[in-house]
Symmetry: C2
Subunit: 233 residues, 2 copies
C-alpha cells in the first residue's frame, strides 16, 4: 500500500516536523537519505522509515509526497522518522556553544567533536536547533553519536567542577599549543559575528587563541576544529 495523500496523518506529522517547535513537542525529527536512515536504525532511534520504492518494512509514498517531506534539492528515496534522545552524560572533553547560529557550522562542529573525542556538546541560548535538516545533513551522522545538553550557559559553567574551562578569543589568551593538561577540558565557542557573550566571558578566567597572520580571523567551525584537533587525546 502506498500513501498518496498529503492529508494522511502520518504525512501531516512529517511535514509539521519541519518546524523546530513541533520537533520539540513531539520528540521526533526527520533524517534524509538511505545512509542516515540505516544509521538511525542501527542505533534504535528509527520510529518509521519511508521510501518511494517498495522496501520491506518501509512505508511507501509517492514521489510528490517525498518531495514535500524533503528539504533538499535532490529528493531522497528514503527518509526516517527518528526519536530525539537526549541525556546529561558528561564526557571528559566538552564543547560548549554560545549562540552558534549557522546550521552548516553546527553540523561541521559535530563532525569534528565526534572525530576528536568531544562527545558532549552543550548548547546555550541562541544556538541553531540541532535537529534542523541542514544541521543533520552537514553533521553526516555525527549527530547520532554525541550527547547534547541544552542549558543556560552561566548556570552550566558555574556548576561545572573539575574541568579546565576555556573561552576562545581571536587575539587574547593562551596559545592552544601551550595547553598541557587535557584530561577534563571544556571549550567555549562563540557566535559567528560576536564571539563569546559578555556574561559568559565574565565567568571564564582563561581564553584559548590560535596564532594567525595579521588581524585575520577564522570561521567558527574551523577554529573549533583546530582547537579540538590540538586538544584531542
Amino acid at each position: 500500500m502506498e500513501i498518496t495523500s498529503l492529508d494522511n496523518p502520518k504525512i501531516k506529522l512529517l511535514l509539521k516536523l519541519n518546524q523546530s517547535k513541533y520537533r520539540k513537542k513531539e520528540g521526533l525529527f526527520i533524517v534524509e537519505g538511505a545512509h542516515l536512515v540505516k544509521e538511525a536504525k542501527n542505533l534504535n532511534l528509527l520510529v518509521e522509515a519511508y521510501s518511494v520504492n517498495d522496501i520491506d518494512g518501509y512505508i511507501k509514498v509517492t514521489k510528490e509526497i517525498m518531495k514535500k517531506i524533503s528539504n533538499t534539492d535532490t529528493i531522497p528515496t528514503e527518509v526516517g522518522l527518528c526519536k530525539i534522545l537526549e541525556n546529561n552524560k558528561l564526557s571528559n572533553k566538552i564543547l560548549i556553544l554560545d549562540a552558534v547560529q549557522d546550521p552548516g557550522n553546527l553540523g561541521a562542529l559535530m563532525r569534528s567533536a565526534k572525530a576528536f573525542g568531544f562527545e558532549t556538546i552543550v548548547l546555550g541560548e541562541g544556538c541553531c536547533d540541532i535537529y534542523n535538516d541542514k544541521v543533520i545533513r552537514s553533521s553526516q551522522g555525527a549527530i547520532f553519536k554525541l550527547s547534547f545538553i541544552h542549558a543556560n550557559l552561566v548556570e552550566f559553567i558555574s556548576n561545572l567542577k573539575d574541568y579546565d574551562i576555556y573561552g576562545t578569543d581571536v587575539v587574547n589568551g593562551i596559545d592552544v599549543n601551550e595547553i598541557k593538561e587535557k584530561n577534563k577540558i571544556a571549550i567555549i565557542l562563540g557566535n559567528e559575528g560576536n564571539g563569546v557573550s559578555q556574561k559568559v566571558k565574565e565567568l571564564v578566567k582563561k581564553n584559548i587563541y590560535i596564532p594567525l597572520n595579521n588581524t585575520e580571523s577564522l570561521n567558527v567551525s574551523v577554529a573549533g576544529g583546530i582547537i579540538m584537533y590540538v586538544l584531542k587525546d
Copy 2:
C-alpha cells in the same frame, strides 16, 4: 541625486552581476556591507559605491533598489562594485581546490588560507564561483588578499615544479604532523562528497591525512583549516 528606478543602467548592471557569467564577462563583482566596501576601497578595487544614505562619493539609491541588489536577508546600507583582479603569482604555500562546491566552505577556506599563509588558491573545474555573494560574505574580506588561479588541475599539477604536492585522503597517507619539509608545499582538497578526483589522485604520489576516531570524517573546510594550521610557518 538618488537613483529610484530599476531601469537605471547602473542598477541593471548591478543586478546582472548576481549571475556568474556576467561577473566573468564584465570583470566585476559586488560586495555588501560597509566593512567590505571600505576594504575594497583601500585596495583600489572599488569602482563605485552605493548607499541608501547620503554619503559623499557614494551613489544614493532607494531602499527598494538596495533590497533588489542585495542577496542577504538583512539589507545592507552600502554595497560596492569591485574589479575582479587575478594574477598568476605563486606563493610558497598553495591551496589547490578540486571541485569544492559549497560557498560557505570556499569562504571559510579563504579565511584559513590567508590566516596561515597559503596565499595562492588554485581552483579546478567544478569549484564554486569565488565571486558568489555567499563566498564573499563567508570569506570576510580574505578574498581581497589572496591570489586566485583558475586552471585545469591535471595541467597545473603536472607543471608545478619545486613544490611538495600532497593530496588529502580520509584514511590513507602521511599523518599531517609528520610532514617536516614545509617550505614549498601544495595541498589538494577535494569535493565535499567525493574527495579528490580520480585523475588528480593518479598524478599525485603522496597523500596527507588527519588521524580521527573511528571512521569519522571532517567537513572539507575544517580538514583544510587543520592541515594549513599544522603546515604554516
